[in-house]
Symmetry: C2
Subunit: 360 residues, 2 copies
Amino acid sequence: MSGEISFARGAPSLDIIDVEGLQRAAAQALAEDPGGATAYGTAVGYLPLRSWIAERHNVAPEQVIVTNGSMQADALLFERLVGEASEVIVERPTYDRTLLALSQRGARLQAIDLAADGLEIGALEQLLAGGARPALAHVIPNFQNPAGCTLSREKREALLALAERHDFMVFEDDPYAALSFSGEVPPTMLSMAPERVTYASSFSKTVCPGVRVGYLVGSEELIGEITRLATGTYISPNMLAQAIVYRFCAGGALERSIERVRAALAERAKALSEALCEALPELDFNRPEGGYFLWARLPEGLDVEDLHRAAIERGVIFVKGTDFMLEGGERHLRLAYSGVGIEQIRAGVGRLAEAWRSLR
Amino acid sequence: MSGEISFARGAPSLDIIDVEGLQRAAAQALAEDPGGATAYGTAVGYLPLRSWIAERHNVAPEQVIVTNGSMQADALLFERLVGEASEVIVERPTYDRTLLALSQRGARLQAIDLAADGLEIGALEQLLAGGARPALAHVIPNFQNPAGCTLSREKREALLALAERHDFMVFEDDPYAALSFSGEVPPTMLSMAPERVTYASSFSKTVCPGVRVGYLVGSEELIGEITRLATGTYISPNMLAQAIVYRFCAGGALERSIERVRAALAERAKALSEALCEALPELDFNRPEGGYFLWARLPEGLDVEDLHRAAIERGVIFVKGTDFMLEGGERHLRLAYSGVGIEQIRAGVGRLAEAWRSLR
């Protein structure tokens, strides 16, 4: 096998996207609601999709805004809630683009380490006891990017209790919820304490990323304020894409797509875990139980920067742990298995092992 | 005829949108480039569409970014170029959302009146001679929103000469260029002085608004900077929608759609002009030569606020002139004929005339 093998990008390979289902959904969207799919909408999004999402989360439609991807939703939320010098709790490690977006707004970031069952609640308690006054805690509760871990139900309760006591909002950033290999995840914090939570998710991982449809769920007041910001930024999100996603969901293609994606990801995660165990027994990691990512730790004395360089020379790429933290991460790496097939995974791990051996 | 008749919204009616052409384009986009249409792209947009646009404007692809509608492009451009207290030249009247977006950034707006052939160049010269140091002049050169006028070729040259002499950028905001009833418009300022111009347009008026595809053309350096801002905001614009627009354009549907839209708008503009002349001879306006809007002036002693209120009571709406200016506009109104059929136009003018008579 030649050509670069990428464990870098958190994106699905084309073979797990239901292109035919999208074709049918596009034809239906334009045939059955040509006006809604082609006209300007309002910034809340395509109304049937908004209602469909609201029903799924058991909230009122007025608590939902459907956006051009969930990063755009994050940007609007941060514009509303995060000012210069606002304190924001983030996970350590966490999604690099979230760190960047928050840093650029001048937020003071407080990073809390992750355990296998999510956020180190004790460390957060200490920070709060020490006088921290966060406006927001950003948490990716399921199959975290990059760490792969899931916040346990007990820790969700503990986090919400802290949010209540110290009066901050939990931003539950949840794009991977549907991708559990067992089909199970703890309940959303949104469902546990709706008044303390703003929730974001997207269809990037269950329909496809190119369709750029994400959403926020929150209080009617906050969603109203964010809708005004969105109106001033782009008037209306993509009605055609949202109408297509709506038909995809309402027609049952979504559930089939999720099954297909889950099965493929489970198979890839297993292949990657097994290949790593065999080729690189010194690499420390937990087997993924869902999502896109395997997060691994190098043995002492091996720097991820060196491994990254040696890997690129051998035609395999991944993301260094340092990208996901404000400081540290030199012994970590993120391997995304969402975009690679089984054969590529095996070949990629072979190259990675070669790179590793070149450094020892 | 009952129900509200709206001359308010600058949006096309469904009967002038090529829904079947969009269906074909969607099927083709997904069949012929499923990867490109469904994956994350980069913030520059769908590459075949970007190249198609570049060719149309005779620039390099690196000078183009394709965005989620042109308002999003404006927002990114303003984020890059307009700081707190930046001076910005705007037309008077001009698009209300542009005024709002600039005001919210804290720009100091300098409004220059419009004549039948566009910007009052003498007034701009005076302003500049008086020490104004604008960063940007925002101009809608063709079938201006709301005034309907087109900037003459001579005035385009004069404006560019001033931009050169006083070192400011012209932001040529040009969504209506294709909608000339005669098929002719003066050359773009972008083509006349590319180093002084950043150009924006969109497919909202030629394909449909719901597809939310707009674009910016500028220097490679500026487009590069804006691409970085876009990456940080939404990673990738809507690839599916852009792939659909590309197939619509490349397959020839765009030219047919433009012909159909032009013919319908010309017919509506004529019907509106004739109905107004007959029913409201005291109303002063120029007959539109393209675009979506008829801009009219009330006789002295009649306030647009009163007419607006009386019109709503009779089931007809329009936008008050005051919405398009920082101050003034009390004797102006904008009538959009893009979203109403001939019968509605006649009935709407009848209601407007009733409203008028109720005030005299």
